[in-house]
């Protein structure tokens, strides 16, 4: 189809124009090339750091952190969301505190965590977990709240016990919202991973550390390559989440 091809190309106009501008400006030495490095240098050093394994090692360390924190945080989030959603008492007792604490901007926790746990792996993973926890807990809570009385009554009629009620009715019924929460949590966890690496620990491995080191040693190429990688990972995670979401929630049929 011609029209789609045309549209695709038009999307490239701006980035290409930017690249050309970047190239021309640096080639003609119109700017401080130490600060604004030529695109060729970025490509060069991109190739170098990727092949040297520096970046990939960092990426692996970051992803491990990200996944560990994400898993722990979302598991805790689902549990708390479920508890708050099912139990009126839990919601009344813990709910207000939870809703108050969630207002604290995520990064404000970081200095506290580092005082209590140091700047090692534990603090970083806990921070990532915290960042995943809130969106999952909130959306699980909302999902469970969306289960109607009629549905619960049907389950009662069928003689479901407590466990069956949760596993056969509440969790499946809330799963679209839980999936949304997990999706959001995945993005937040990645953001938190990078943030934790920026703010804690300079010697540890991690893609954020690579970028920070690039800044400290004035290697702008390294920063740009690192940024691109951070963006790329975020994009891949996002795509994966969308894919899994549509598969797992297949039974619901089309959403709209």
């Amino acid at each position: 189809m011609k029209s789609i091809r045309e549209t695709d190309l038009r999307g490239f106009v701006l980035p290409v124009a930017f690249l050309v501008l970047w190239y021309v400006v640096t080639a003609l030495q119109l700017v401080n090339t130490k600060l604004i490095v030529p695109p060729g240098a970025v490509l060069d050093s991109a190739w170098k750091v990727v092949t040297s394994g520096q970046l990939l090692g960092g990426l692996q360390a970051s992803l491990t952190r990200d996944i560990a924190g994400f898993a722990a945080g979302s598991a805790a989030g689902i549990l708390l969301g479920l508890l708050l959603g099912i139990s009126r008492w839990a919601e009344r007792l813990i709910g207000p505190t939870f809703h108050t604490l969630k207002q604290i901007s995520l990064f404000a926790w970081l200095p506290l965590l580092s005082t209590w746990l140091g700047t090692g792996e534990a603090a970083k993973i806990l921070f990532v977990a915290l960042s995943a926890f809130y969106p999952v807990a909130l959306s699980t809570f909302e999902g469970v709240r969306g289960v109607t009385r009629a549905q619960v009554e049907v389950a009662r009629v069928l003689g479901f016990n407590r466990w069956q009620l949760v596993s056969r009715l509440i969790l499946p019924a809330a799963s679209p919202q839980i999936a949304t929460g997990l999706h959001l949590a995945l993005l937040y966890a990645w953001l938190a991973t990078i943030g934790a690496e920026y703010l804690l620990g300079s010697s540890a491995q991690g893609i954020g550390n690579v970028v920070i080191r690039g800044k400290a040693t004035f290697h702008v190429e390294l920063i740009i390559v690192g940024m691109l990688l951070i963006g790329l990972v975020g994009m891949v995670l996002n795509r994966l989440a969308s894919l899994v979401e549509s598969r797992v929630l297949h039974w619901r049929g089309p959403v709209h």
């Binding site: 999307g11 701006l14 980035p15 930017f18 009344r92 604290i104 200095p111 019924a173 920063i223």
Partner: protein
Amino acid sequence: MSSLTIALPSIGEKQPARLLRWNDGLTRFALSWPFPLAVLLIWYVAAEYEWLPPQILPPPSMVASTFIDLVRTGELPENLWISMWRVLAGFAAGGLGGLALGVLMGLSPTAKDYLYPTFRLIAQVPSIGWLPLLMMLVGIGEALKIILISKAAFVPIALNTYKGLQGVSTRFIEVARVYRFTRWQLLSKVVFPAALPQVWNGIRYGLTHAWLALVAVELLASSEGLGFMIVYGRQLYQLDVVLAAVVVVGAIGFALDKILALIEQRLLRWRTDGF
């Protein structure tokens, strides 16, 4: 929405009389206290018996008195003011830019084809990822903070505005055609109101993200502001200062969210008439 998750309007729930409902609110309020109070008690006991050294866990009374001191000496209000100014300036700049881009992409398919891929590219790298590069390019001055906060607010607002405008049902537009609305009438009476809920959503996200970015940038590169107070307190092992600042960060986040929720209630009042 799936048929399973449609929330029925509280059938079966007993409809309490006015007095009873007021009573319910009171119970709710009363029940919200035991948990934080218990935490406070544990904190107090732990600090009192020095399970942890006071540098790591200062007693609640100390945090409270530090808080009062910080307010009295003007240190807290001063830093708070600086942070608020930054967040509002960044939010205003990023928000207006986001609205403009969102409207442009939402109304003009041509503009969307040219701009959207680049927009996605910029949006894909989280705000904090831009920080090191921006530090190199603009230094660590005020410009860095405003730009970063703008970017954080810009992305969700532009995206939601665009999606909101795009999602306006063609049926509405057809009805407007039947009524022979002019282009301006179509926009102001149909398209914008219909997109408003999602646009507003974007604005709320934008403000949350701006606040998040503010704290991050102040932690990393700043010599004043709430985030700086936190870093500074932590470096001197004055956790009382850190905790006091964290409480303020939470309170401001809460207040900003509440203000937007209140505005939303007024702005989108017409929506409640639908159901």
